[in-house]
């Protein structure tokens, strides 16, 4: 059961080997998490994440393999992960995502579809499975990793940003639908996070690291914030950016990512 500070004892992480997910898992294990189920597509990476979770205090850590390019496995992945938890699952983190290579993907229907699958369709399928299981528990949290890229999609990354935008908006509605069920959905909107996924890209202003993101998540869980911005200032920055006239928006974002 989670405690008064939103610190869970049992967590399921879908996309458990992503760097942000690993940083969050470490923090939660150092607090109260003793059961950690990590689901992902690469056993080697999952094993590394698993031993890290143990190192930070988890006593039961297990892994589940799945490929987010195929939404038909979402139900199985979620059920299998929940079944490994003895008792209630306090927190599900949905950290599945693919940044892709926009220039390569944008004229290729198959690759463009894949971007939508991994960043939108698979998470939506998983959320449908998670929702039912958690509502039956009468308590629990869902943390969906979105992105500030979802708030205003920019041309250099529209396949990624567009899919995240769909997921983000869907989650706003899903969170409302959970009112009164005991289950809470929270949306994490990180800015540019220094990680393997973004290595080599030019760093825009307000870039952050995975550990700072994890800190903001821990705070957001305690505060029960509907949306967790990381760093928090992006909430105000994007409050302005989202209303910029399109030519100006293009100029600003091209500048930032050049």
């Amino acid at each position: 059961m989670e405690n008064a500070f939103g610190q869970p004892q049992s967590i399921v992480v879908l996309g458990g080997s992503s760097e942000i997910a690993r940083a969050i898992t470490k923090r939660l294990c150092a607090a109260r998490a003793h059961t950690v189920i990590l689901a992902g597509r690469n056993q080697q990476l999952l094993d590394a994440a698993a031993s890290e979770a143990r190192e930070f205090g988890a006593s039961q850590v297990e892994t589940v393999l799945f490929d987010a390019k195929d939404p038909s496995n979402a139900q199985r992945t979620v059920t299998e992960s929940f079944a490994k938890v003895d008792g209630a699952t306090d927190l599900v983190v949905i950290a599945v995502g693919l940044l892709g290579d926009q220039e390569r993907d944008e004229n290729d229907p198959a690759l463009a579809t894949e971007m939508a699958m991994v960043n939108f369709t698979w998470p939506v399928a998983a959320l449908a499975a998670v929702r039912g299981l958690m509502v039956a528990q009468g308590s629990g949290r869902i943390l969906v990793i979105s992105s500030v890229a979802a708030i205003r999609v920019r041309r250099a990354k529209y396949l990624y940003g567009g899919a995240k935008a769909g997921l983000d908006r869907l989650c706003v509605g899903l969170a409302d639908s959970l009112e009164g069920t005991g289950v809470t959905l929270q949306i994490l909107r990180p800015g540019h996070v220094r990680s393997k996924m973004t290595a080599g890209a030019k760093e825009p202003p307000f870039a952050t690291g995975v550990d700072q993101v994890a800190d903001d998540v821990v705070k957001g869980l305690a505060n029960r914030s509907r949306v967790i911005w990381s760093p928090p200032i992006l909430r105000f920055l994007f409050g302005v950016l989202r209303h910029l006239p399109a030519p100006l928006w293009r100029k600003v974002t091209d500048e930032a990512s050049r």
């Binding site: 059961m1 008064a4 008792g87 209630a88 305690a222």
Partner: protein, 444 residues
């Protein structure tokens, strides 16, 4: 039967459960027979998750309210869903008061048993259990009357057992005779913690009731400055005694949740300062009403909403007689961290009773109200747990919302004995709560 979102008084970690409200023992037994997981709940004044069970059944005891007359010895038998408020409204006009009352009248008799509540007179009169003659307990397979001599083992597992041995449906207790509805209160102000603790050690035994309010935000020389109030019931010769009146119903309330952060280090510091300055330096035998002395917070309904939607936690621990230094170190740690904490309640406990999970032990207890929100609070409380455990003390389960399972185990050395008794009457482990699951008292 209805689905409701429930949380404790601290308004943290809510969960949804099916709520049933039986009106008699047979209906309680039926609810137990048909639920795989169930816990009783009274007025929801446990601070954490003791009276909730996410995804399970919560048995509201509020319809178990029939009561007998009070006999000439002050003995009364009341339904477990009766609130202390209801009982006092009935008993005070007849000249009887509760032998033990916590800081609020808004708890049920069943809740008072489950948490084995204590009051300002613990150092002389012990806790609630010490005044219970017998009770009815409904377990998944049976129902029985328990007393210290009639299955004393189960009686003492149930007293302070957080509702995990069964559903208490009726309690017989001995009330306290009072001549007036007034208290005579002595108040003293102390400019630091050592002074007030010394005064309590040397003077408490001369009073039936004693409690100190400590400012945990003052630092340096005035660290732990406090106001000590000690009192006795006024007799007819002390005051102009008219008819005895029950406490008036509360009119003031907090209408809705305040914004997060209304109670922050700045506002709380200002409040503590004001409160300290307004308290008399030294005052003797000041007559006060029963409710003004025992239940000042009952004057403001739903005051927990002041903490905003994030809620708050109460940290209450006790340490044995020789560990007064732990109290000092805890307050030091807290005041130097700058974490917002409302007036803390400091009190001396008398000897413990045989309750297996009963909280009080001979020594000191300190209770702190802390708003959720400061990122350093969870870690700070974990530090305090370490200090309390190494002093062989414990944290009060009725207040807890964040202990580690292994800490709870270390603090309650009779836990295994308790679980053996529980196993006997609840072999399928139906009685459980979010607290029990969080602390791994009964599986997860």
């Amino acid at each position: 039967m209805s689905r409701s979102t429930l949380s404790g008084w601290g308004r943290t970690a809510p969960g949804v459960a099916t709520v049933v409200s039986p009106t008699c023992d047979e209906e309680v037994a039926q609810a137990l027979a048909t639920s795989s997981g169930i816990i009783a709940r009274g007025l929801g004044r446990s601070y954490g998750d003791a009276a909730q069970l996410s995804g399970g059944t919560v048995l509201s005891n509020l319809a178990l309210v029939d009561q007998s007359a009070i006999d000439e010895n002050g003995v009364i038998s009341v339904g477990a869903g009766t609130s202390l408020d209801q009982l006092l409204a009935f008993s005070i006009p007849q000249g009887w008061f509760l032998p033990v009352t916590p800081g609020t009248r808004q708890v049920t008799i069943g809740g008072a048993v489950a948490a084995d509540v204590h009051g300002k007179n613990h150092h002389v009169d012990g806790s609630f259990a010490n005044h219970v003659l017998d009770m009815r307990l409904v377990t998944p397979d049976n129902s029985m009357t328990l007393s210290p001599s009639q299955d004393g083992e189960l009686f003492w597992a149930t007293m302070g057992g957080m509702g995990l041995t069964g559903v208490v449906s009726r309690v017989t207790l001995r009330m306290l005779k009072i001549e007036t509805d007034q208290m005579l209160v002595d108040t003293d102000r102390f400019s630091n913690l050592d002074e007030v603790m010394n005064a309590m050690v040397t003077g408490d035994n001369a009073y039936q009731y004693s409690v100190a309010w400590v400012d945990c935000m003052s630092r340096g020389l005035s660290m732990g400055r406090a106001v000590l109030t000690r009192a006795r019931h006024a007799t007819r010769s002390d005051v102009d005694a008219g008819t005895l009146r029950a406490p008036r119903p509360t009119r003031l309330s907090v209408p809705c949740s305040a914004p997060n952060g209304l109670l922050n280090p700045l506002t709380i510091k200002a409040f503590n300062e004001l409160w300290f300055r307004l308290s008399p330096r030294h005052q003797e035998e000041k007559p006060k009403s029963l409710s003004a002395f025992f239940h000042p917070l009952d004057g403001l309904r739903d005051w927990n909403r002041l903490y905003g939607p994030r809620g708050f936690v109460q940290y209450q621990f006790c340490v044995p007689e020789g560990a007064a230094d732990t109290v000092r170190r805890v307050i030091e740690h807290l005041s130097s961290s700058g974490i917002a904490s409302f007036l803390a309640v400091l009190k001396r406990f008398g000897p413990s009773n045989p309750g297996l999970l009963s909280f009080p032990m001979s020594g000191w207890t300190l209770a702190l109200d802390l708003p959720v929100g400061s990122p350093s609070l969870p870690g700070l409380l974990d530090d305090l747990d370490e200090m309390v455990v190494s002093a062989r003390g414990r944290v009060y389960l009725a207040k807890d919302a964040r202990l580690r399972p292994e800490m709870a185990r270390a603090m309650y050395p009779n836990l295994d004995e308790f679980l053996a008794v529980k196993d006997r009457v609840d072999p399928r482990h139906q009685l459980t709560s979010d607290l029990a699951r969080r602390l791994h008292l009964v599986g997860t």
